[in-house]
């Protein structure tokens, strides 16, 4: 991995969220894998430093193996609990507090869902929950929609990162609205991490080319025919998009321009 590290060190700086430093700009969810072995292999291949987890009841009647901690070493990956499935600010706050109690950190990926069919966020609930959690010392990464105004309010409310969606959770429709994502990035100072909707590598690459700080994805890898190979593709694509953004692309031209000299031709 020496070559890899050198690349990063030379060509990009780490992503900083709150005090935290993350080397990979790709964050992965841990849901929906056919089995835990595939999940761990894919997460490893992706080179991610941070994975999200959900808070759910212990199943008292099933084997204890189900807990994700039996498969993910908290020393190897930073575990970021989410509040997925919460439909009110109060509910989300309750889940966040329970997650913090597990004792890994005060970080939380905040979701307040507004509609079961689309899983789109309820921005009023997001703002209320963000204010509450920030006042309790949480570092809040907020999943939100593409609305700049809401994003600005979330930053004012103290969110550590704002995470607009590319398209609905699990849809794989890709970056539906690059304009608004660029807009949010251009106006906020906290890190912007695009969360949800990426379906394939070019979606991740194009998303990073908008200048955002990172991407969070789950289904695109877990539901690929070959999750491990797709994880590797996403690792490359995320870095490619980031480097292309930093490199500064060539200008588009409506006319062609030769790549070979037009002089020195034979008679």
């Amino acid at each position: 991995m020496a070559a890899e590290s050198k690349d990063i060190d030379t060509f990009d700086e780490p992503l900083r969220i709150g005090g935290h430093e993350i080397r990979s700009r790709l964050i992965l969810g841990t849901g929906k894998y056919i089995d835990n072995e595939t999940m761990v292999e894919a997460i490893t291949a992706s080179g991610t430093d941070v994975v999200t987890v959900a808070v759910r009841r212990v199943d008292l009647d099933r084997t204890k193996e189900e807990g994700v901690l039996y498969h993910l070493d908290p020393k190897k990956w930073f575990l970021l609990p989410n509040t997925a499935g919460c439909y009110t600010a109060e509910e989300a706050v309750r889940y966040a507090r329970l997650a913090r109690e597990a004792g890994f950190s005060e970080w939380v990926k905040l979701e307040v869902i507004g509609d079961q069919e689309t899983l789109l966020p309820d921005v009023e609930g997001l703002l209320e929950a963000t204010r509450t959690l920030v006042s309790e010392g949480f570092k809040v990464l907020t999943y939100t929609n593409e609305d700049l105004i809401t994003a600005l309010k979330l930053e004012d409310a103290g969110a550590a990162a704002v995470m607009p969606l590319a398209s609905p959770i699990g849809s794989g429709l890709g970056l539906l609205n690059p304009y608004h994502i660029r807009l949010i990035k251009s106006r906020l100072t906290v890190p912007i991490i695009v969360d949800a909707g990426v379906g394939t590598a070019s979606d991740a690459c194009e998303t990073m080319e908008q200048g955002v700080d990172g991407i969070l994805m789950n289904t695109a890898i877990a539901a690929a025919k070959d999750p491990v190979r797709m994880a590797l593709a996403m690792k490359d694509a995320t870095r490619a998009g980031r480097l292309a953004y930093l490199a500064g692309r060539m200008p588009k031209r409506e006319q062609a321009a030769p790549s070979s000299p037009t002089t020195g031709m034979l008679d």
Partner: protein, 73 residues
């Protein structure tokens, strides 16, 4: 006859269950064969810190939530 086998009914994770009377939270986790490290306990809507597992008694009618981390996005 002794109270050793006395039972109380509590609601755990939404289901009513009979558990031995006189358990603390720590005792309850042991009874349920749950490894402490990975579980978080909410007792009557209030989170119980690990260092208070011995101080909190489980009594009849308590509502207890036992949660942990699972795969999620």
């Amino acid at each position: 006859m002794s109270g050793d086998d006395a039972k109380i009914t509590v609601t755990i994770n939404g289901d009513e269950r009979e558990v031995p009377a006189g358990l603390t939270v720590r005792g309850l986790l042991a009874h349920l064969e749950l490894q402490e490290g990975t579980v978080v306990v909410e007792w009557n809507r209030e989170i119980v810190r690990r260092d208070r597992y011995d101080d909190v008694d489980v009594t009849a009618g308590d509502t207890i939530e036992l949660v942990h981390f699972v795969g999620g996005g």
